[in-house]
Symmetry: C2
Subunit: 188 residues, 2 copies
């Protein structure tokens, strides 16, 4: 194959040349802890929660999938806007995120219950190790969280486990700051 | 393994937390076309040409090696400062570079003689496909070329072919602009 050149604006993360994948509140039914707050929000507006670019590269084990991810500011109840999060289908594949803008948390957990929360700020690179589901969470009141990501092109996404069970932890605003707390809906 | 958090300054690409790998003119003996210009420069100062961060991750096929690369402005004769360039030891592994600062060219060639030159400017991501040797070249008169890179952690580096043969093309300043021309020293 040939090389690829893509422009992702360093300030916004957006690209004029490609179409992003967009996830709205309605795509995340049941994923936020406060169902009443979710239901009240969605009747007003099916807000864009996050979007990302997927280059659609061939899923080879030597390729590197890459692009930018934008998570917008907002909360459902006290819980910050976030991506769905996913395991990789090939579980023992890692991913790296380089934060270009904003403020947030990369929440990670493996299938044995180990979890980590790492801060995201411009200039911070977070390495998500093999075997960890991961989710970007925007903890800024008003700014977009923008990251550049890279992982093995054949790794694949396994959203299923997370969509049904969620993560063990959630990130909420409490006493004016972002806090990682137990997910009240999570069941073994 | 655990997650990793590393700060690479978005403006300079540098990290206070890690030690970079530095390449000076003396590390690149024989790699620039104009030997007289090289010899004249190196007696004055063994200039830093480029540096990069290597996280030293385990070389697993599921891991992603990542870091920043800084190529400094300068020329040897009319030839712009550049990295050594390399094939991956596992040839069919790709690499992605996201340009954070500066201006340059990603020069690529495969073992069959196909080559490509892609511009690097802030916000441009260049995908180096499987099988291509690649080299970053700084074509700015005064600014550092900074990129964030990612590739498969076990891909390895094969510098040998490039160090002995060079690339088929070189990038020189001619009539005040950067031009890709045949490497006069390259032999089949």
């Amino acid at each position: 194959m040939k090389s690829i050149l893509v422009d992702f604006d360093l300030l916004t993360g957006l690209s004029d040349e490609r179409e992003s994948v967009q996830r709205r509140l309605s795509d995340m039914d049941g994923m936020y802890a406060d169902k009443d707050a979710y239901d009240a929000m969605i009747v007003r507006d099916d807000t864009l929660v996050y979007e990302f670019f997927d280059m659609g590269l061939p899923e080879t084990e030597g390729g590197i999938a890459f692009g930018t991810s934008m998570t917008y500011p907002g909360k459902v109840g006290s819980e910050f806007f976030m991506t769905k999060g996913h395991f990789h289908s090939i579980l023992d594949t890692a991913e790296v995120y380089y934060c270009l803008r904003g403020k947030g948390i990369m929440l990670m957990e493996d299938s044995e219950g180990n979890w980590e929360a790492r801060e995201l700020e411009p200039g911070l690179a977070v390495y998500v190790p093999e075997g960890y589901a991961h989710r970007s969470i925007n903890t800024s009141p008003d700014d977009t969280l923008v990251t550049f990501y890279a992982f093995r092109a054949d790794a694949g996404h396994d959203y299923g486990t997370i969509e049904t069970k969620g993560f063990r932890k959630i990130v909420v605003e409490k006493d004016g700051i972002a806090q990682v707390i137990d997910n009240p809906k999570w069941k073994e």
